[in-house]
Amino acid sequence: MIKVENLKKHFGNNEVLKDISVSINPKEVVVVIGPSGSGKSTFLRCLNLLETVTGGHVYIGGVDLTDKKTNINKVRTEVGMVFQQFNLFPHKTVLQNIMLAPMTVKNVQQEKAKQKALELLRKVGLEDKAEVYPDSLSGGQKQRVAIARALAMEPKIMLFDEPTSALDPEMVGEVLEVMKQLAKEGMTMVVVTHEMGFAREVGDRVLFMDGGYIVEENVPKELFENPQQERTKSFLSKVL
């Protein structure tokens, strides 16, 4: 589903991703952990080309994103992304937030888009918020809308960049619940998070990143209970 080969990324002289290779299978939930500045967000953003890649290849469903001929907008419709800061469109209602992309990008009929949006709002437990503006929502509700908005494009892959880091603690659960549900339904997911409980419970695999490399990867139980690398051990001792 996702294949990353010798991915490199630098900002000016600062090499942020040094040599990343990894494959992610359909329906797999991969959790990315690591210290601040290790390149987790940059790695995730290379998977839908929000960052331009400076070396190596990224394949999504066999299509090479680093190939200049690739229609990146097309690929992005298949890769949903959820941001730490939600990034809802403040001038549009919740319903419009969700309907806009299907209508403009995929030319979905308004009625169909609306039905789909309402269905997704039900799924994330917010059907009563359809007509309000994002400003009046709590953080947890905003993030659930953001997830619904991404799902409206019917992506094959969902990327999450610290989706709960900007939330008050009491709202983390409701967002993780929606993500767990998605995982259960077989969505392919790449999740950057500090929620080790979620990683353990939902993750099929955990990648530990540090200094622009994937230092260690394993099934959650093994990685958390029996880390092989010194850097992994020292990181885990700080966060667990």
Partner: protein
């Protein structure tokens, strides 16, 4: 010193005509200036520095030189070169438009750049093209933020338009000067002009504040 209200009364039709000219040229200037300003603002934001250079030069020139100089260059230089004769009204409107466009280009750029870059990223991550994201996400939000500075620019332009008197556009100051020349009076014409400008700008600020409030609650 006796203040001759009767002379003001006599000149009132001219002051009224002048007020319409002032409002008219300012309105045309702000409208054309907004359209041109948007284009120049977009030009300035091009990544290619060479292509962006003429737009930057335009903005720098009109912001960096007095309007008085600009209007003389346009009235005695540009317009005759283009249409073969001088025409104060055309020169005045062109000068106001070009001058406003430079300020509005900056207002436009600042408005766009004030939108959090997460908005563009979210739109692009959903598969929207750059143009679609601009049209549906960035510009609607930027326009809202541009309203207060655009309103200010209109007020500035309305006052600047008084200089059009010097190229014989029959606006408020043109008639004030005629008044002074005819009756050798100073206070009557210029205090009248001041009052008219003051009322115009007050009304504009009031309307602007109402519009801002409405946009804020929308």
């Amino acid at each position: 010193m006796d203040f001759r209200f009767d002379l003001i009364g006599e000149y009132m039709p001219y002051f009224i005509e002048g007020t319409f000219y002032t409002i008219g040229v300012s309105l045309i200037g702000i409208l054309l200036g907004t359209i041109l300003g948007l284009l120049i603002g977009l030009g300035k934001m091009m990544k290619n520095k060479v292509l962006a250079f003429p737009f930057n030069l335009h903005i720098a020139f009109y912001r960096g030189t007095p309007f008085f100089v600009q209007i003389y260059l346009i009235h005695f230089g540009l317009i005759p070169a283009l249409i073969g004769t001088t025409n104060g009204l055309v020169a005045g409107i062109v000068a106001l438009t070009l001058n406003a466009s430079a300020y509005i280009a900056e207002i436009f750029r600042a408005g766009i750049q004030s939108i959090d870059k997460g908005q563009m990223e979210a739109a692009r991550s959903l598969g929207m093209s750059h143009v679609q994201a601009m049209r549906h996400i960035i510009l609607p939000q930027a326009f809202k933020r541009m309203v207060p500075p655009l309103g200010n620019e209109f007020i500035v332009l309305l006052k600047e338009s008084s200089i059009l008197a010097l190229v014989a556009v029959p606006e408020i100051m043109y008639w004030s000067r005629a008044f002074q020349g005819q009756y050798y009076k100073v206070w009557e014409p210029y205090l009248t002009a001041a009052v008219i400008y003051f009322v115009l700008t007050m009304v504009l600020s009031f309307l602007l504040r109402r519009l801002e409030k409405r946009l804020a609650t929308e």
